[in-house]
């Protein structure tokens, strides 16, 4: 359960980028965040896992029946909260020279103490769990491979496995399919969807048609405010309203990729 309460974010120069964003998400929600470039999608995501602090507002996340505000926490408390927030990034952001399994295990670093990670490493039980996370995204066969030798789609699935291995209470995905071809993009969406039965999954997407197909809720941002929050059955008029001039461009991209999909 996550509740975003009226967050704002201003640049040092005083320009307000997020102008009061609020929404709630619970188990069962697979939310697609849409919006033109510069709407504040990625910034909102960064606030949700504490990589950026909002200027004002609260982000309440329920962990083990306790409510924490990630917008306020720092240092050790922030690290403890992050352990329970799974994040998948556009650029996959894996450690290329480590194996697939090792990259998944990195997800638990925050949950083991410093001394142990420095001198003993992970135990067998954790390795087994990491392997199970890989099974969930169906790439357990690649466990021993170096990440650098994988394709983009495979890397993104490793990143999802890492997030699952964290046993998070919420999963964030910042443009997880932007660097992938349509076939791989669909595969990733299919892997993300069932996870929403266990925790809220919030993703930023560039392709409205993919988001409306797989997500069960859409939140649209424009100029740092929420302009739509509702079911994923979005109309052409709404898209026109959200994207304005950018819409034509997005649809052209979709046409180019359509035959492959």
């Amino acid at each position: 359960m996550i509740e975003v309460k009226n967050i704002t974010k201003s640049t040092k120069e005083g320009r307000q980028i997020l102008k009061g964003i609020s929404f709630k998400a619970k188990k069962g929600d697979f939310i697609g965040i849409l919006g033109p470039s510069g709407a504040g999608k990625t910034l909102t995501m960064r606030c949700l896992n504490g990589l950026t602090k909002p200027t004002t507002g609260e982000i309440l996340i329920t962990i083990d029946n306790q409510v924490h505000d990630i917008a306020k926490n720092k240092g050790k408390e922030l690290r403890q909260m992050r352990q329970k927030i799974g994040v998948v990034f556009q650029g996959f952001n894996l450690v290329k020279r480590l194996s697939v399994l090792e990259n998944v295990m990195i997800g638990k670093l925050g949950q083991i103490n410093q001394f142990r990670s420095l001198f003993k490493g992970f135990n067998n039980e954790e390795a087994q769990k990491a392997y199970e996370a890989l099974e969930k995204v169906k790439i357990e066969k690649l466990a021993k491979r170096k990440v650098a030798s994988l394709s983009g789609g495979e890397m993104q699935r490793v990143a999802i496995a890492r997030a699952i291995f964290q046993e998070p209470v919420i999963l964030l995905a910042d443009e997880p399919i932007a660097n992938l071809d349509p076939t791989n993009a669909k595969k990733i969406m299919k892997r993300l969807k069932p996870l929403s039965e266990e925790m809220p999954v919030i993703g930023v997407f560039h392709q409205p048609e993919i988001a409306s197909k797989y997500c069960n809720r859409i939140i649209a941002l424009k100029d740092g405010t929420v302009v739509y929050d509702g079911n994923s059955d979005i109309s052409e008029d709404l898209l026109m309203d959200i994207y304005g001039d950018e819409l034509q461009e997005i649809e052209n991209q979709a046409l180019v990729s359509a035959p492959l999909a």
Partner: protein, 258 residues
């Protein structure tokens, strides 16, 4: 005349003037050169044949040289790694980065011979000051190279591991070290070659090892013995190059991605 022609003539004149002044300062004379060549050939005669009976005496200093180089490279690389972490803008705060980078640049500007002279004055003669001097001497070069390698590690990868709740030390262990391992290994091995050469030079100022043998033989006018020592030095340097080449290839091919 064209403007470019005038510029060219002016440039030539300046170079000629500089050459003439330098020659005056350095006492360049053809007479001294021809006399020097004749003396040099006579001197070479005194250096040959090498006195191989001195070879057994060379073994210990040669081993000492290698050990000085090995110790210095090991601790120097370790020291450099910490300076590199402090000097990398993606994991270190600005003030610390500036201090570390300034120290590394200063060290790079100082010839090793100055560091050894300072340390010999402080710690006395012997191989140990040599080890310390060479270890410190690594920081300028290795620290800078490691630092640059760390800065090339994708900032987003670091951020993503941090977003799973990892501490800075865990980030270093699981992201930085694996990603810069090839640079760590190959540059450290290269520095081992450099240190072997330098430890010979340092021997001549009292840091022990084979360099001291050469210096000592020259002082006693035992030139044939000096020749043997020089041959041993050549052997050591070649060997250290072969060994470091071998390991570099072996280790890097193992970590190469299949």
């Amino acid at each position: 005349m064209k403007k470019t022609t005038i510029k060219r003539i002016a440039l030539l004149l300046v170079i000629a003037a500089l050459l003439y002044m330098s020659m005056l300062v350095c006492n360049v004379s053809l007479g001294a050169l021809s006399k020097g060549i004749v003396d040099g050939i006579a001197f070479l005669g005194e250096m040959f044949p090498p006195d191989f009976s001195a070879l057994p005496d060379m073994i210990y200093p040669a081993v000492e040289t290698i050990m000085i180089s090995f110790l210095a490279t090991f601790f120097g690389a370790l020291l450099s790694f910490f300076f590199a972490l402090a000097g990398a803008s993606n994991i270190s705060p600005m003030w610390l980065k500036s201090i570390s980078r300034f120290f590394m640049a200063t060290e790079r500007a100082l010839p090793e011979i100055i560091i050894i002279l300072l340390l010999v004055a402080a710690l006395g003669l012997g191989p140990f000051p040599g080890v310390i001097a060479l270890a410190i001497g690594c920081i300028g070069m290795l620290g800078r190279l490691f630092s640059d390698a760390i800065e090339e590690v994708n900032a987003k990868t670091i951020e993503s591991v941090q977003s799973a709740g990892a501490t800075k030390i865990q980030v270093i262990q699981y992201v930085i070290i694996p990603e810069i391992l090839p640079s760590l290994i190959s540059n450290t091995l290269f520095r081992f070659e450099v240190n072997t050469r330098l430890s010979v030079l340092l021997g001549a100022v009292g840091a022990g090892g084979i360099g001291y043998e050469i210096f000592y033989s020259f002082q006693l006018l035992e030139y044939e013995r000096a020749t043997t020592a020089i041959l041993v030095v050549l052997l050591l340097v070649f060997m250290s190059e072969r060994v470091s080449d071998y390991f570099r290839k072996k280790i890097l091919s193992n970590t190469k991605l299949k």
